[in-house]
Symmetry: C2
Subunit: 390 residues, 2 copies
């Protein structure tokens, strides 16, 4: 082979997103005049809150759009820390908060800090594909542990214990999870934290969707495990996807090393985004976001029963986020072909389970409820007329 074509081994180890194929086909349908109901999109439809836009405008008026500290603006680090106290009852020192270029940067930094060659990180399968890809990019070994509805699609202390090996460095939990929307209850999370600590490992919790929890009072792992790394984001609850802003809360002993890595790998997060994000924590913004959270819950409460009625299996009610992971085996055991076919016949775009791992992935699809209720109704109506049991 021409060596100029060669790429690093990791490139082959990272699967492409099959949903991109669905999106390309959906765009082609739209270009041909068909209407498409987009239930494949992983970003909230709600626009950035007005006060955040206003804060961005004020930052532009100030004009000094220079680098910030690699750790982020001190006032934003303080605001994030305060939010943990006010929202989750967790006492977080602002010195432990590191503002990042999205949770993407947060995950890369944490994995760069922790993962040596062939070090294993345990993750739930199904799970968000990028999470395992960050481990792979840094030459670690992501270990997907199959979890089904009987476990709420989540890891537990016993699974962690059973799969721990001499090469295991830590565990990455997403709660709420993408694609399943399920959460790890505080008691179970505490058990996981203990199991990981007993092994001398590290617990990383992706709380990107924690703001969008629909049952009771959501708890951050930080309210009971100071030693966990938390990765979070302004994209989902705060509706700031295009701003590319997230954060890490790290154990204090690791902040200096994360700062060094952030200086080298990112310099600093985008300045306008940071100044804008300060407005996220204003009471009027939080009131608006709570309204939107209720809208998401309303969509979920419509969509899940509707999908069940259509014949999809949704054995666990998603507790947060904006996804439903649905068993489509009544219709197909080839979720990629199923998604193609559903799109072609009904104009409803959904994401094949194969994007989220290997465990029964071909028998599942992901529905997003990031579109308004009337569009969800339209999507369900189209499916009702078109689905045929296999």
């Amino acid at each position: 082979m021409d060596s100029r074509l060669a790429t690093a081994a990791r490139v082959a180890g990272i699967a492409p997103f099959h949903v991109m194929e669905v999106q390309t086909a959906a765009r082609a349908l739209e270009a041909a005049g068909r209407s498409v109901v987009h239930m494949e999109i992983g970003e909230p439809d709600f626009p950035t809150p007005p006060a955040v836009l206003e804060a961005a405008r004020a930052a532009l008026a100030g004009g000094g759009i220079y680098y910030t500290s690699a750790l982020g603006l001190p006032e934003l680090r303080r605001a994030i820390a305060r939010h943990y106290g006010e929202r989750y009852g967790a006492d977080v020192d602002p010195e432990r908060v590191i503002v990042t270029a999205g949770s993407s940067a947060a995950l890369l930094l944490v994995m760069a800090l922790l993962v040596d060659r062939d070090d294993e990180i345990l993750l739930a399968d199904p799970g968000y594909p990028c999470n395992r890809h960050f481990v792979r990019v840094l030459e670690g070994a992501p270990v997907g542990i199959p979890v089904g509805p009987e476990r709420g699609y989540q890891l537990s202390a016993d699974l962690v214990d059973a799969r721990w090996s001499a090469r295991t460095r830590g565990v990455l939990i997403a709660s709420p999870s993408n694609p399943t929307g399920t959460m790890v209850a505080p008691g179970a999370m505490r058990d996981i934290a203990r199991a990981v600590a007993a092994r001398g490992g590290q617990l990383v919790v992706d709380e990107i969707y924690l703001g969008l929890a629909y049952e009771g009072e959501p708890r951050s792992v930080l309210s009971f495990a100071d030693d966990a790394f938390v990765v979070s984001s302004f994209s989902k609850y705060f509706n700031m996807t295009g701003w590319r802003l997230g954060w890490i809360v790290a154990p204090r002993r690791h902040v200096r090393d994360l700062e060094k890595l952030a200086q080298n790998l990112y310099i600093s997060p985008a300045t306008v985004s940071q100044r804008a994000a300060l407005a996220c924590f204003r009471p009027d913004t939080l009131a608006l976001l709570e309204e939107r959270r209720r809208a998401f819950r309303e969509r979920r409460d419509f969509l899940v029963p509707a999908l069940r009625e259509l014949g999809f299996g949704v054995p666990v009610m998603p507790g947060g986020g904006f996804f439903v992971y649905a068993d489509c085996s009544r219709f197909s055991r080839d979720s990629l072909a199923f998604c193609r076919d559903v799109l072609e016949r009904t104009g409803v775009a959904i994401t094949p389970g194969v994007d989220f791992g290997e465990h029964r992935a071909a028998e599942h699809v992901r529905f997003s409820y990031t579109i308004a209720l009337d569009k969800l109704r339209e999507g369900v109506a189209r499916l009702r007329g078109a689905l045929v049991p296999a």
Copy 2:
């Protein structure tokens, strides 16, 4: 050792920036009422051009600050490609342009694409530390090749040939270089490209400072080597540091894999920054930037002779960027201690050579001319009264 304190081996392999220590000490002096002349700063003092701020305001008014394509806005990719034609006479297909979250993301993506475990990338020593750190983070082996003034502080085809090993994967050239400001002439770059191609390797050229070249017509490697990867940035010439925006121009055969990596590692670059950057290529913005480039040249033309007169060695006139790499051995052979001492005695902040590699690093310091001419004069005057030959 407590395993919870352990970090991946790469963390120890990445040196902290010593300039941070200088900056912390400088801030302490300022807090104590002393005036500091900042000649350590690596970002242009000029604010973001007004038309860019205006374009950002317009993007906010539009309100749809969502994710973009992982490759960036198509219109921005086209504008960057067109700029290569208009400015550098290089014919670049927009499909080869990948917009990134700063040149930081560009370098990470290219190294993630190319570098397998222990693969060597050849770089000049002295050089920008992050460049070698990106290689190390991805488990490659950066190989710093000592280069002095007799080689213009740059690699050449003969050095590449001499240091190529079975593990060498490619060469990373920065032209103009940080810290030396020196450039690789087109003929020499063509020879390097040929030498690398003959070995079946990859040439990556950091052209971050190419817009700030002061002699003749600067050439992009793309005007004669379609096979090179170019990494560039909106930070320096376009004065958009805090916006975190850069780009890659890649050989066409690698664009799909880079897209896959970008989707996984970044999702997309910041949307407001991308919309703002479209205004960089307006004639009025380019006229302003050319004015600022002439101001940088004027500063250089003052600073280099002034430093020589003070007794610093500047054997090669920097051809671009905004740095002077100066031999301080007449005063000290411990550049870190020298920087501390100069700051303490004169309030002039400069960067120790040890931040840029190992080759005679303790006998060099880096001066930035990212401050106005009157401040540069003030800095030189302070040094004149305080420097004592060792």
